[in-house]
Amino acid sequence: MAVPKVCGTETEYGVVLRGVADPNPVLASSVLINSYVEQRKVGWDFEDESPGRDARGYGREGSQAPEIETHLVNTVLTNGARYYVDHAHPEYSTPECANALELVLADKAGERILARSMQAAARILEPGQSIVVYKNNSDGKGNSYGCHENYLVDRALPFSALVRHLLPWFVTRQVFTGAGKVGSENGAAPVDYQISQRADFFEEEVGLETTLKRPIVNTRDEPHADPQLYRRLHVIAGDANLCEVATFLKVGTTAIVLAMIEDNFLDSAGARKDWSLAGPVQAMRVVSHDPTCRATVELADGASMTAIELQWEFLRLAQKYADETGLEACGGETVGGDVLARWEAVLSTLERDPGLLEGQLDWVTKFALLDAYAARDGLSWDDPKLALLDLQYHDVRPQRSLYERLVRAGKVERLVEESDVLAAINDPPGSTRAYFRGTCLARWPEAVVAANWDSLILDIGGDPLKRIPMMEPLRGTKAHVGPLFATVDTPGELVARLAL
């Protein structure tokens, strides 16, 4: 039986510091995150914490600008997320989520956190300076930054089994995970518009790298959990999505595929024995470069299939898997069932006319917008105006983001309520250990000396520091420790009750 597919995303945002002669992206990222964290520390007396409160009310008129630290910032938020500077980007790693719908909420909360960070930074920057962030994966000049996914996987599963199935999976899921891009990069053939931001950057099938010779399947092995029991599959072959349906499908379908691999379902279900591609790296580009979704890729056995046809194979097995095994590991019938239904609807619509998925998939939504704009002004695809529209679709500032314009125009389907997104800025999901981490931070910020994915270190005064191991991602949930939190007032009492 597959282990529950606890999941998360780790998004590096593009960052620009404007109004400065020689902008330093590391410094800009640090200022951004520190501004957000500092203003919250100041108000960090808990009666003052209220989910959904608008950042516009946070101003500290006439206050001193916080001192800017230049070392790499690394912080943990009360929602259980990690917010830090990774190389030259601000990165938001969602808290661990139990299913794709929770992940959509936590991921969207990240966008709001970045937007609030920009507002907070504006208060300490010189007039004329500003920091702007973009939720995309490429600068259009050969530099890419990631939106990684992570999934809990059974350690007993041989990695080779994962690789074999994941190569065709990552190549073909692009038809709904792509965030769209004008042009091509990194030596890829010229194209007007392609499905994925990232496809041009993959150069290997499998490997440890994430910045050079990027592999389709990444072998980074940091379980952040009991290494005897678990792997944490680190996925780098995806785009950062703004459309909630795209995020939901990207994570929801991948979780189901992983559960099927773990349960040895793909090899025993009597379907096509092997979907290995003749050239996965090349196929990645072939699929991405064809917005009609009709291009075929060659399989190792010589057959040719479109990405959609291969996706139907995966889906048929997933439906069979759901009937025979259930979807307990993937969000249960409610969330897992919705993933299956939407997956089928999207494949069937992609077959008819991808344009019908405007408002659900980023690459289609952006394509429709750019196409309409180009038609109105008679622009060709290499016009800088279209490159600007492409970039600004991903702008995280609500007033400048073209994606947000489309949301406000009612053209984008949402899966979560905005009030829930605002609450998720501060509140952790209740379904994983993120609940324990976030709640400790919210209640006793001074006592939390350090927090990590799999441990928390508390200073309860007097005694040596107390380290609380959190090696099981599904312990420390609201159901598990909620009653405990309700009966303790201090971190010392918590530690005593945990019998550390």
Binding site: G14, H87, H89, S144, A345, E358
Partner: protein
């Protein structure tokens, strides 16, 4: 595109036979076109100035 997106998504669990939608009346078509024009105008107002320089200056080195 604006017209197309009004079509229903196929119902889950079955691959729905394609049903041709009635052609939009010219009145409805005009309305949709008007909405799209308004949206594009709105976008013009928030677009960064000097597209070419702006796009050129967007460079992201280092990551992952």
């Amino acid at each position: 595109m604006a017209e197309q997106q009004r079509r229903q998504r196929p119902a889950p669990k079955e691959r729905v036979e394609e049903t041709e939608e009635l052609p939009a009346t010219s009145e409805r078509g005009e309305k949709l076109k008007g909405e799209l024009d308004d949206l594009l105008d709105e976008i013009d107002e928030v677009l960064e100035e000097n597209a070419e320089d702006f796009v050129k200056s967007y460079v992201q080195k280092g990551g992952e």
